[in-house]
C-alpha cells in the first residue's frame, strides 16, 4: 500500500503543470472558473493548443497519435486540467467515436476521419438518444433504408450536445425493423451538411442552449459511411458507452467546485463573520469534502487496477453514482453560499457592465450550474440504471 505518486509520476505532473501554466489562455481559464458558457471558438482554441502539444488524445493508441499514457498519467493530466480550470475537451469525436473507428472501422474510415478529429476539422456530435427512448436506448426508431449505394435516413435524435457547432454526427439507426430490439441497429457516420438535416435548439431551464434536436428527412448517406457490419451497431454502441465512462467520477471537477465554494463562503458574510465559520454551513461543507476525499481514493484504486490491466466492472457504475451525487451536492452548496445573489440570471450579470453594482464574484453562475447539473445523474446512463447494473452484478444469477 502506498498512497503517494511515484517519482516518475510526480515528474510527469510537473511537466503538465508547466504546460498549463504557460499554454492555457487566461481568458479561457477565467471563463471556466466563473462558469461562463464557452463559445465554439473557445473550444477550438484549446483543442488546437492541445493538438499542438500532442496531448489531445490521451486514450488513443500511439499508432493513431495518442500520448502513450497509462491510466495513472491520464488521471494526473485530468486532475491538473481541472485544477487549472482548463476547458473540458469536447469528447464526442475524441473519446467516443474514435475508439469505435479504431476497433471496428475500415482502414479507409480510420485514415479519413481520425486525422480530422485531431485537427479539429470535424466537430462530431452524438446521435444516440431519441424522444421516447431515454435510458432505454435500444428502443430507437430512426430508420435507415438501403437504396443502392446510399442509406436513406428518416427520424429524430434528441439531447444532441453542442450539435449546433458540429459538422458530423454519428448515429444509431434501425436498419432491420423486424429484428428483435437490440438487433437490426446500425452505426452510421453522417455529414451534417447533407440536405434534409435540421438542428433545432432545446432551451434548458437555466436558459442555456447546449442540447438540440436533430431531424432527418430523407437524408442520403453514402453506404461507405456504415461502420462495421449492417445490423451490428448495438455491439459498437455498447463499446462506445464503456468509453463514455472515462473520468466518470469527475473528481477534478468536484475538487475545483469545492474550492470555489470555499472562496465564496470566505467572502460572504453572515452576522458579521465569514459564512464559512457558520457551524451549519461548515458542517455541510465538511461532509461533502469527506465524501470527496474517500471517492478520490476509490477512483485512484480503480485507476491503479486499470493501469495493471484490470478492466473496471461495476466500479464504473459506483463512481458514476457517487461522483454525480457529490458534484450535485457541491452545486447545491454553491447556491446556498450565494444567498440572495443566487436569484438573478448569470447571463446578464456576467455580461453586463462592471460597475460597483456588480454581484459578488463567484455568485454569477451558481444557480444556473445547480439546475444544469441535475443532468449529471440523468445522462450517460441514469443513476437508476447504474444501480440496476450494480445490483444485478452483485446479486448475480441469484435474484
Amino acid at each position: 500500500m502506498d498512497l503517494n505518486y511515484s517519482t516518475e509520476e510526480l515528474a510527469f505532473r510537473e511537466q503538465v503543470r508547466e504546460f498549463l501554466k504557460t499554454q492555457l489562455p487566461k481568458d479561457l481559464s477565467e471563463s471556466v472558473r466563473i462558469g461562463r458558457t464557452l463559445s465554439k471558438d473557445d473550444h477550438d482554441r484549446w483543442h488546437r493548443i492541445l493538438h499542438g502539444r500532442g496531448w489531445l488524445a490521451p486514450t488513443w493508441p500511439d499508432t493513431y497519435g495518442g500520448c502513450g499514457w497509462n491510466a495513472v498519467q491520464r488521471h494526473i493530466f485530468e486532475e491538473e486540467c481541472c485544477r487549472a480550470h482548463a476547458p473540458r475537451v469536447v469528447p464526442f469525436g475524441l473519446t467516443m467515436l474514435a475508439p469505435v473507428l479504431q476497433k471496428f472501422g475500415s482502414d479507409v474510415q480510420r485514415n479519413h476521419f481520425l486525422p480530422k478529429i485531431l485537427s479539429g476539422e470535424h466537430w462530431w456530435c452524438q446521435g444516440y438518444s431519441e424522444p421516447g427512448a431515454g435510458s432505454d436506448l435500444a428502443s430507437l426508431r430512426t430508420r435507415a433504408v438501403r437504396d443502392g449505394d446510399h442509406y436513406v435516413v428518416n427520424g429524430q435524435k434528441t439531447w444532441t450536445t453542442l450539435g449546433q457547432y458540429a459538422n458530423w454526427i454519428f448515429c444509431l439507426v434501425r436498419t432491420d425493423p423486424n429484428a428483435k430490439q437490440q438487433e437490426g441497429i446500425s452505426f452510421l457516420l453522417i455529414d451534417m451538411d447533407t440536405p434534409g438535416i435540421e438542428v433545432r435548439p432545446i432551451i434548458l431551464l437555466d436558459g442555456t442552449h447546449e442540447v438540440n434536436e436533430v431531424w432527418f428527412t430523407d437524408v442520403h448517406v453514402p453506404a461507405e459511411n456504415l461502420v462495421g457490419e449492417e445490423n451490428k451497431g448495438w455491439t459498437y454502441a455498447k463499446y462506445l458507452l464503456t468509453h463514455e465512462r472515462t473520468n466518470i467520477a469527475g473528481v477534478g471537477f468536484s475538487q475545483a467546485g469545492l474550492e470555489a465554494v470555499k472562496r465564496l463562503a470566505r467572502q460572504q458574510m453572515h452576522r458579521g463573520r465569514p459564512l464559512i465559520e457558520n457551524p451549519h454551513f461548515a458542517a455541510r461543507l465538511a461532509q461533502v469534502e469527506i465524501d470527496l476525499m474517500a471517492m478520490a481514493t476509490t477512483n485512484l484504486r480503480i485507476i491503479a487496477a486499470a493501469a495493471e490491466g484490470h478492466a473496471p466492472g461495476i466500479e464504473s457504475s459506483m463512481l458514476k453514482v457517487k461522483g454525480t451525487e457529490i458534484r450535485q451536492e457541491i452545486n447545491d452548496l454553491a447556491r446556498r453560499a450565494a444567498g440572495a445573489y443566487a436569484l438573478p440570471f448569470a447571463s446578464e450579470a456576467v455580461i453586463g457592465d462592471n460597475s460597483a453594482l456588480a454581484p459578488p464574484e463567484g455568485t454569477e453562475a451558481v444557480a444556473a450550474q445547480y439546475f444544469n447539473n441535475r443532468k449529471l445523474s440523468i445522462f450517460g446512463g441514469s443513476n437508476e440504471i447504474q444501480k440496476n447494473i450494480i445490483a444485478k452484478a452483485a446479486l448475480g444469477g441469484r435474484a
Binding site: G134, R335, A349, S355, F371, R374
Partner: protein, 380 residues
C-alpha cells in the same frame, strides 16, 4: 380543532385555481421570463380584479382578509401555477409595511394601499444588503438627519420589483450598529430622484430585481413611515407574513411537481413497461407524497400562528420554512430525476416549477438559516 377552509376562502381558492389553470400557460411563462417588466401587467391587473390583493389585506386597511390562512390559501394557488407576478413583494411585503402594526394607517399610506388593492400601484421593499445575508435587522444603510431632510447612503441588494416599482420602501439605520433592532426606519422613495441608481437583472425563476445604490439621497423627513428608529417590529411582521406566503407558494409548487411526476410515470413507457410500474420509482413517489403532506402541515402550523405572539409566530415560521426548504428541494430534485431530461427543458411546465421551489429558499433564509432561527427561538 378544524382543518376545513371557510366558505369564503374556498371560493377564493376555486376562482384563483380556475383563472390560473385557464390562463397561466408555459408559453406565457417563457414570454414573461424575458419581458422588460419580468411579469405580465395583464395578469397582474386580472389578479387584482379577482380580488386577490384585497384578500391579502385586513378589512381595517381596505382589504377583506389578511389573516394567515388567507395568505396561505392565495399563495398555495399561485405556487401551483408557478405565478411570477410580484404579489409577494408588492402586496404582502409592502402591503404589510404600509398597513403597519398599531393604529390606523396615515392618509398617505391608506391611499397607497387603496391603489395597491386596485392593482394600480407597484411597490418594492429595498431591505437586503450585501452583508446582511438573511438577517432581518442587519442594515448598514445610514439615514442621517440634516434639518428638515434625511440623507440616505448605502446599498440594497437583489431588490425584487425595484425597476417596475412606482415607489420603493427603503430601510435605513438612524442609530446603532448593524444587527441592532433599535434604530431602524422606513422611507418611501420615488426611485427617480437624485442619488438613486438601479442595476437590473432578470431573475432565473421569473420577475426582475435590481441592485440599488443610494448615494446621499436627500429626502424630506415626511417620507419616513412610522416612528423614527422603531421600524423593526413592522419589518419583522411584514417578513413573517411574507414567509408564510412563500412557504405556501412552495407547497403549491410541490403539489404540481408531484402531480406532473405521477402523470409522467403513468404515461411514459420504457423497456416495454410504464415507468411507474418500477418499484424503485414507486417507493420514491410514495416518499414524495409523504413529504408533501408534511409540508402541508408545516404551512398550516405557520399560517395558524401568524397572528400569535412574535416569538411563537417566528418559531413556527422557522420550522415551516426549514421543512418546506428541505422537502421542497427533495421534491424538486426527485421530480426532475424521475422524469429524466425532459424535466429540464423550458418547454415543459416542471422546469418553471422546480425553479420556483429551489429559489424560494434564497429569500428570507434557506433551510439552514431557518434551522438556526428555530434553535435560537427554542432556547429562548
Amino acid at each position: 380543532m378544524n382543518f376545513q377552509l371557510t366558505e369564503e376562502r374556498q371560493m377564493l381558492q376555486d376562482s384563483l385555481r380556475r383563472f390560473l389553470s385557464d390562463r397561466y400557460s408555459v408559453a406565457l411563462h417563457n414570454d414573461t421570463l424575458s419581458s422588460p417588466l419580468g411579469y405580465s401587467a395583464t395578469i397582474w391587473q386580472q389578479l387584482a380584479e379577482l380580488g386577490m390583493i384585497g384578500a391579502l389585506l385586513a378589512p381595517e386597511v381596505g382589504g377583506y382578509g389578511g389573516a394567515g390562512f388567507d395568505i396561505s390559501t392565495v399563495f398555495e394557488e399561485l405556487g401551483r401555477a408557478g405565478v411570477v407576478e410580484p404579489v409577494l413583494d408588492c402586496a404582502v411585503l409592502c402591503g404589510s409595511l404600509l398597513a403597519g402594526l398599531d393604529g390606523a394607517p396615515t392618509a398617505r399610506e391608506q391611499k397607497l394601499l387603496d391603489q395597491l388593492i386596485a392593482g394600480e400601484q407597484q411597490l418594492a421593499f429595498a431591505h437586503g444588503e450585501p452583508s446582511s445575508r438573511y438577517e432581518r435587522c442587519w442594515v448598514e444603510t445610514r439615514a442621517v438627519a440634516e434639518g428638515d431632510e434625511v440623507v440616505l447612503t448605502g446599498r440594497k441588494s437583489v431588490v425584487i420589483n425595484a425597476e417596475a416599482a412606482d415607489q420603493l420602501i427603503v430601510s435605513a439605520r438612524e442609530t446603532g450598529a448593524a444587527g441592532d433592532r433599535d434604530g431602524l426606519s422606513l422611507f418611501l422613495i420615488d426611485p427617480a430622484i437624485a442619488g438613486v441608481r438601479l442595476r437590473g437583472s432578470a431573475l432565473m425563476a421569473g420577475g426582475r430585481a435590481a441592485e440599488v445604490d443610494l448615494d446621499g439621497v436627500r429626502l424630506s423627513q415626511s417620507t419616513r413611515l412610522g416612528t423614527a428608529g422603531q421600524a423593526a417590529n413592522r419589518i419583522e411582521t411584514a417578513l413573517a407574513r411574507a414567509e408564510v406566503a412563500l412557504a405556501a407558494e412552495t407547497l403549491g409548487a410541490m403539489e404540481t411537481a408531484t402531480r406532473l411526476t405521477m402523470d409522467y410515470l403513468t404515461t411514459r413507457q420504457q423497456f416495454g413497461r410504464l415507468i411507474g410500474s418500477f418499484q424503485a420509482l414507486q417507493h420514491r413517489v410514495a416518499e414524495m407524497l409523504i413529504e408533501v403532506e408534511q409540508a402541508r402541515s408545516a404551512v398550516i402550523n405557520a399560517a395558524g400562528h401568524l397572528e400569535d405572539l412574535p416569538h411563537m409566530r417566528d418559531r413556527h415560521i422557522a420550522a415551516a420554512r426549514n421543512l418546506v426548504g428541505r422537502t421542497g428541494r427533495r421534491i424538486a430534485e426527485e421530480s426532475i430525476q424521475l422524469h429524466g431530461g425532459i424535466a429540464m427543458t423550458a418547454e415543459y411546465e416542471l422546469a418553471h416549477i422546480v425553479k420556483r421551489i429551489i429559489l424560494a429558499e434564497h429569500r428570507f433564509g434557506d433551510a439552514d438559516t431557518q434551522l438556526e432561527r428555530f434553535i435560537d427561538l427554542s432556547a429562548a
